[in-house]
Symmetry: D2
């Protein structure tokens, strides 16, 4: 059995996919013409001779993706609200994609998103997640491998979808209780 | 010069304060009657002979307080929304204050807050912070002392007050851009 | 079926345990004499009528415990290595247990550990973990409940036991690769 | 005054630098020939008309860099020690640079580092940091902008250099104190 994890996003339909295969080498060799037809040059390979390794690798790929996205998003948030409020995010994203250490496919996505609307005003601050980030976080915990930034990137998405957090309300309640601190009361 | 950090919250007006002094020992000895009058037994002392050490200690105290509060708040959030949704939070808080490893003044505050209203329905999920947590996080970074949980507890409060996060909107924008993932659109 | 989570540590053999029960109320009522015999006053109760809720509650208890311990440990690390290096940790722990917001059973444990040896010089920086913290982190991720500080407290223990981190070596390798930064080379 | 933040690493001497300028537009226009001579096409621009904005932008760039590096390093650590221990890291890095969502300059650095030695056996797990990541974390805290993953990436480097962590020893001490748990004793 050969298993194949696939990455590339919607642009890959034109640009070619990336494929990570796991399983028997003879099965892999048999499929070479498929990989050559569908993938970018150098964008495919056998990562391990055990079946499952392909999707395992793709799962870790997605966890890294979450972490990199979180790092980028926090940075632009700081640009947008830091001491130079109003600085040109589009110009910045463009420069960051041409010769910077952080140039990347994800930064190109940021660049095109900001080019369309630098205020992102049609979007709500809610971020979905699919399963791979969570599986990777589980695996890391199961194996006692530290996975802090990537796990947090997943947890941040959970936070983004939690509009009436019980945890935050309890924090406010504790402060009121011990310090008599004023709180924001709900109209409910 | 003697500097004195004070803790105890509003109940300390009756129960006695806790005081951490920094500075000259003779000045400290001179003030003993004051400490005895205002503090709980054993709840005061000279932490260092350098002025400023008292408030430094109190600053670190507050950073720990943030971290402990965050740990507790996350735990009750999981009780409230975990596999046993609806389990009795008041009963739990009471037990946790009588013989458990996590029994603490803060847990007593949780107990009395929940006793008043286990749903905390009059509170908004907005958490304020005063300066000490931030100063401690700065100091830790300045000295390269890892301070992850306590720094996060501060950052969590920032998150709680950020209702239209640019970072979260940019994450959603990236997902739409590379994956064609559906997003929650804003009515704006 | 009645399930009962137990807390209290080794001192509980004398001081009385804390017990969180889950299951049928009649079974719970039947066992009252046992709870009364073994527990602290108010330190036992039925948290939910579904079996399993007792251990679920105890599992969350332990995750909070990890988070609180991490918060405290980071604070003392900052006291020990901050701007007032050498300040009196024992005195501080004592004051913090008498009237401070962060007074707690765990802080008492710190106080007695420091009283024995304020340098903790017989200990290696390796921290074990049992399963409950991990289960709670899994459960939180499964239910999309943010659990950042408590999960990190677990991950910190993994970090503590990872003496030749591949992640850290790869970070150093990347820095050398793109920046020509000097690295600490291994004698291997 | 025109200030110019520069990125690109050592390869930029050949490939061209990236430059983020802040300050007066006429001063910027005056310097265009310099930017054209030293930078990659599209790899330079005026991010804001206030002096200082160039280095501010470069500072945030470096914080993102830390976060992205941490995300990548954690992922490879999980590949190296996860369920498919021994899978081919070089092959994986190569595929990830050809058509994957996480393809990036930093991933190319990983690829060349692993090509030289997939075990990174000449490196110690110690990671240095220069000032920018710290300044960005300060700025974020000052402005109450959540910056969790990028701040953690900095703190992880502090952890990497802390071989005899007092925090970890105190955690072990607390466990021994309340639970009688065995600890790793130091030969000291």
């Amino acid at each position: 059995m050969l298993d194949v994890g696939v990455s590339g996003g919607i642009v890959a339909a034109d640009a070619g996919y990336a494929m990570m295969a796991g399983g028997d080498r003879s099965a892999f060799d048999h499929c070479r013409p498929l990989f050559e037809a569908m993938c970018q040059e150098n964008g495919w390979g056998l990562v391990d001779e055990r079946s499952g390794a392909g999707h395992f690798t793709k799962m870790v790929h997605n966890a890294i993706e979450y972490g990199m996205m979180q790092a980028i998003a926090e940075g632009f948030d700081l640009l947008e609200r830091g001491s130079y409020e109003g600085l040109d995010l589009r110009e910045t994203a463009r420069i960051w994609n041409h010769g910077c250490i952080i140039s990347s496919f994800l930064m190109q996505m940021v660049q095109s998103a900001l080019d369309r609307d630098a205020k992102l005003s049609d979007l709500k601050p809610h971020v979905a997640d699919s399963g791979e980030g969570r599986w990777a976080a589980f695996e890391a915990m199961e194996r006692a491998v530290p996975f802090v930034a990537n796990t947090y990137a997943l947890q941040a998405r959970h936070i983004s979808r939690d509009d009436d957090s019980f945890a935050f309300r309890l924090l406010a309640a504790m402060r009121r209780e011990f310090g008599g601190h004023t709180v924001k009361e709900s109209p409910r």
